[in-house]
Amino acid sequence: MAKTHIQFMLNGQEVEALVEPRELLIHVIREQLQQTGSHIGCETSHCGACTVDLNGESLKSCTVLAVQANGGDVLTVEGLSQNGEPHAIQAAFMQEHGLQCGFCTPGMMIRAYRFLQENPSPTEDEIRHGMSGNLCRCTGYQNIIKAVQVAAEKMQSE
């Protein structure tokens, strides 16, 4: 199948790839660009393990074609920390025991990153609704919610 050349920003770096028109963004990010932090849990947009940020919106990269990211700006978990310092969301997930097996964590944190820009000081109920597109099987969510609250407070005070 003929390949298409695409170019986009990935975690602040310009990247390019040759992809088939049918190739999914998650596969290109993980397999060609070797950023394996974003995971594949269902390939049907339900679980959110593959959540990335594209042009300022949370996006499940298992159901988006890589060509749709052409010219865009993509953020994955690998781009969260700045200058070697963990982002407040990352620090809060560790502090509040918001992760266990770690498989949902990258997508969960990338969603939290966008959610807290949409709603910088959310209530618990708003977190539960705003993050409901990301599934976790280990934590029972309670400590994830706590982590998002703690991160929100930290980010507000900065």
Binding site: T36, H39, C47, E78, C101, H129, G140
Partner: protein
Amino acid sequence: MTDKQEREEGLQGVGCSRKRKEDPRFIQGKGNYVDDVKLPGMLVGKVVRSPFAHAKIISINKEAALALPGVVAVLTAEDLKPLNLHWMPTLAGDVQAVLADEKVSFQYQEVAMVIANDRYTAADAADLVEVEYEELPVVIDAHKAMDADAAIVRDDLVGKDTAGQGPRKHNNHIFSWDVGDKDATDRAFESAEVTVRQEMYNHRVHPCPLETCGCVASFDKVKGDLTVYITSQAPHVVRTVVTLLSGIPESKVRVISPDIGGGFGNKVGIYPGYVCAIVGSIVLGRPVKWVEDRIENLSTTSFARDYHMVGELAADKEGNIKAMRVDVLADHGAFNAHAQPTKWPAGLFSICTGSYDIPVAYANVNGVYTNKAPGGVAYRCSFRVTEAVYVIERTIDVLAQKLSIDPAEIRMKNFIKPEQFPYQSALGWEYDSGDYPTALKKVLEAVDYVGLRREQAEKKARGEIMGIGICTFTEVVGAGPSKNCDILGVGMFDSAEIRIHPTGSAIARMGTMSTGQGHETTYAQIIATELGLASEDVQIEEGNTSTAPYGLGTYGSRTTPVGAAATVMAARKIREKARKIAAHLLEVSENDLEWDVDQFRVVGSPDQAKTMKEIAWAAYNSVPEGMEMGLEAVDYYDPPNFTFPFGAYVAVLDIDKFTGETKVRRFYALDDCGTRINPMIIEGQIHGGLNEGYAVAMGQELPYDEAGNLLGNTFMDYFWPTMVETPKWELDYTVTPSPHHPMGAKGVAESPHVGSIPCFSNAINDAFGQFGVSHVDMPHNAYRVWQTLKELDLNKG
């Protein structure tokens, strides 16, 4: 703070909520899961699966698939036959087709594996494999499996009087297993003042971890070495099975479980996809990756439960239980591939007398084949313990209802009393320790149980429906004593190897395998406390069979009861050697030394002391005459008994009588897991277990239609609670140490799953109990609850 307290805190040992050692890599996206493994020249395998539940394979045409550029091979049973790998043994004494041999016996069964350069080509080629089938009649209803005219699920077993677990009486019969005194139980029922009998179905579900199963097999044709990266909770068992199947010496097989994205029992078994990838790599001399997709995961790799149960209790009019009788029809699907100790066809189901002092009991289980996916794994529980706890906790509520006794009161009345421990149960267990009345009392007070019952009555008067569920469960975990527990003949011990380096840091390796429980954190805490070295300086490694000592892996809550016990024993061997070295350095007798947090000091002369760090250095240059150098130990721990964690849970929920939707208003969980190693991690494990229990009780289900089509194998259908519907958890605990475990710990992660399922179900049944219903089956999703409301004519204004 005293000097001693300061030194203790500095260790970050047992009892502290140490932050997890695993987290820095996970929060940076630097975990290394199987699908992240990428080897040079790696190929990708895709399984071709059956659309039918039962059909003869007339022909398989690979030509079109092989003609597609990028396709390297297409494997079928015919290709595996010369290697004698078209069938494989299961952990339950049966055999399972690796690739369908002449016929398929369940929908989505593995028929062929396409191996190609990349995942897209493999998927395209899988669609090009032409398989011609001739449909056969199916057996889907387990109750009809042993009818005279039932279709035969397993032609390969026709004429055989056993399927590896004792005699069988029908072509679709797998085993009969019973335990207890049948005659004495029958007599107790005949003479009882009151009896109850309740049929209930523990429905078929799937553990469904977020990461599906997969592997990367890499065979080095020059050296003859095989390396397999695999999503396994039991990598050493995988290595042994690979050797038994392939003939490659165990010394040349390296199985590596890297980071694993959750297991919950799904990743104990050996699946056809693994075998095909391994064969592919051996034949082609290139690495082969196989990672299943979500539909494949839910459809093929190990369901759990599917127990059709009848629970009976005999009692006097005051509610004192005199006897229990249980009959089970177990649907094991097309191959008996349940994962439990080999000699226990119904696992540890005989824990079904629960937390109660029941004088006589009898349990009988029959396993049958049906045209459904094989398995029968322990989904976040010790083998079949969830089913056992469900049957007693539901039936005792049915008895309470019949006698008009409050469910809390009937439990208090029948509890095994604290002074009865160690307690010998009617079905053969020796419960190690427990204090059930204290636990339940604490919970009832915390939730204001009396007030809740009052509120429920008031609501009923107003036409509103509220349910209160209680569950007081006892688990049996930590398989297990090798005298009665083995997997394929290997005793179910576990192991730890600890090595102290000259400068006082350490590395320890275990035979268990974390799938998110935080072993790198907690094992180090145990070693810190035992050896007086900071947990930060103790590196934990698991999952590489070439470096870790042989162990049976992590499932059935066995890491703490068995693996942690091995760790403590290995550490204590090191401490004994360290004592000798300290005595030598201080020029005193060993008997003059006492252990003090992180050092040996001379009794009565506290200034004279040697820290463990100093001793570690000396172990490499100044040991007593005749002693070998170094400071390390290994321990293979064969537990003397299981451990018996317990808990008391209360669920409070409201039912919308018009829609059938339920809102869990409170869930209060008290757990007793004995000595607590890391309270933060315990809390996290309990939150997760409760949520999985909520999922099972309220919605998860693998339903089949009459033709054997699986109707719920995507996340569109298979219930996985989001943050929105997940209840808020309230936790509590008591501590009753295990007397036989070297640090008194019992294991915790599975209790909340086991205990919460009957608790939620009891709450729903309590709500309907107000209207005379004794039992409705799970899952209690809105539609099913609404159906009950409609039957009771309650869905009106």
